[in-house]
């Protein structure tokens, strides 16, 4: 395979990612996570994430170069996540990227994290070539920091935000409800495990923003804070009534509510736009129930679902390098060296 050789740096949340791609081929994808440090706090603490990025960056860069078997001097460009994400965390990556780019005299591309998640579907891991995403597609990005529904026409200019969460991200809701249920962080896998023998229909938790009255203004938006409160009320109610909380049923019913809303709105977007393709991305894609329900309902709706390999679904540097490589290949000029981070960078801004 050929194409621009690009190193990508990702530090928008709690994962320090350094990836190297040649065109669409991933040569290295190193991910260092501060999740264990975050676990004692029950969620991502921005200052802890930023401190961890600073310490992890050097080793991650060195390891990625070793794995890829390339030298920094060989690179055609550097790419870095400029947003959206945690500002202090993003700044560590941008600082490192500017240090590399200026010392090497290489062009620097500040790019969009969410576009990176979509671009992940274009990439191939070593030894397992894949056909890249078929466009246009609807994309559902679900992680600890994001819950976004996107209409992707092409990756250079045409990404439209259809809707996003108005409060908690889906992954965040899993973390918060895990805490309510006395389960440790991160909540996703813990709730999955607790839900194994549970009845997803045992408790009818609310599906946020799915009522008829929300359809006009928030058809594709999400809200999980009401769901979290409903779980809290349920737990309190059971305790007040002197009953033990049925952990498996509660976990399964909560998870079902999240998955139901995500899949229903995503397939609604496919139907409304006439695009029979759905791309799933983000760390919550690791959730087995989400994948199963999405695949099952999509098949019935005649929608083809694509899910990139898991290491490209979670936050990673290869997807950022991938966006950079597309920008280079399409002839876009690099970003001005004076660009800053933008914690709320809109998804239609592919590059800053």
């Amino acid at each position: 395979m050929t194409g621009p050789l690009v190193l990508g740096i990702e530090t928008s949340c709690d994962e320090t990612g350094v990836g190297i791609v040649r065109g669409r081929e991933v040569l290295a994808n190193v991910i260092a996570s501060s999740m264990e440090e975050q676990a004692r706090y029950g969620g991502v603490v921005p200052e802890i994430a930023a401190r961890a990025h600073l310490e992890a960056m050097g080793p991650a860069l060195t390891q990625a170069l070793d794995t890829a078997g390339v030298r920094l001097q060989d690179l055609d460009a550097i790419a870095v996540t400029a947003g959206p994400g945690l500002a202090g965390a993003l700044m560590v990556g941008v600082g490192a990227a500017k240090g590399l780019a200026t010392a090497l005299g290489k062009p620097l591309y500040g790019v969009n994290h969410l576009v990176g998640h979509v671009a992940a579907d274009l990439l191939s891991l070593p030894g397992s070539p894949r056909d890249g995403a078929v466009l246009p597609t609807i994309a559902l990005l679900v992680s600890g920091g994001h819950t976004s529904l996107l209409a992707v026409d092409d990756l250079t200019s045409g990404i439209r935000l259809l809707g996003e969460t108005l409060d908690d991200a889906a992954g965040e809701a899993f973390d918060k409800v895990a805490r309510l249920l006395g389960l440790p962080y991160p909540g996703g896998p813990r709730i999955d495990a607790a839900a194994v023998d549970g009845d997803p229909a045992a408790i009818r938790f609310p599906r946020g923003l799915t009522a008829a009255k929300d359809r006009a203004a928030h058809r594709y938006d999400f809200s999980f804070s009401g769901l979290k409160t409903a779980v809290a009320r349920h737990v309190e109610g059971e305790e007040a009534a002197g009953r033990a909380v049925a952990l498996a049923d509660t976990a399964a019913s909560f998870r079902e509510a999240v998955v139901d809303v995500l899949v229903t709105k995503a397939l609604d977007a496919c139907a409304e736009t006439g695009v029979p393709r759905l791309l799933l991305g983000g760390g919550v894609v690791a959730n087995r129930r989400l994948r199963d329900v999405a695949l099952e309902r999509a098949e019935r709706a005649g929608v083809a679902v694509r899910i990139p390999p898991f290491e490209l679904c979670t936050d990673n540097g290869a997807m950022i390098a991938g966006v950079g490589a597309m920008r280079v290949a399409a002839g876009f000029p690099p970003s001005d060296l004076g660009f800053g981070v933008d914690s709320t960078l809109p998804v239609d801004a592919v590059q800053v």
């Binding site: 930023a50 401190r51 700044m91 010392a103 004076g338």
Partner: protein, 195 residues
Amino acid sequence: MILAVDTSGATGVAVVGDDGSVVAERVSDDPRGHAETIGPLLAEVLAAAAGRIDAVAYGVGPGPFTGLRVGMAAARAAALALGVPELPVLSHDAIALAAIEDGAPGRFAVVTDAKRREHHVTVYSGADASGLPVRAEQPAVVGEPPALPQAGGPVRPALVGRVAALRRRAGLPADPPEARYLRSPDVTLSSARRP
């Protein structure tokens, strides 16, 4: 030549000679905007050095964390890119060197703002044979500065470079590379509910 970066206050970048003489120095007057400013400033001073950098010095604080990390991340990455050693420097040492070169007599304290009505303080006992400041007490966060003559910021990046250059020439080790946060991250431990 040594490339020097310090973002413990404003964004500052310099190139100094092996004897610590200033070749180029750029300091932003914006106390924020480190992530933006570091790029153009690095590009400017590196153009002045024209490929003759053999080490990268950087200030490790103390200073506001978010800005401090930008310079440290950039400097470490630049050292990796150039294939040259890192020479970390306690940022207060640069202020102390300036005070000594201005004739500070004997014992004095470098005092910078730590916010929340506190100060970052490092106490110095004077200069050693190489003219480098000698720390009598390591940096700390204190409410009241000690009753000593005071020296304060801003940190000049060229003096971070000069501390590194003089140390290297005298065969002295650099400072540890870790950021001197001097405070724990502000977090409240979550109390897990037990149903």
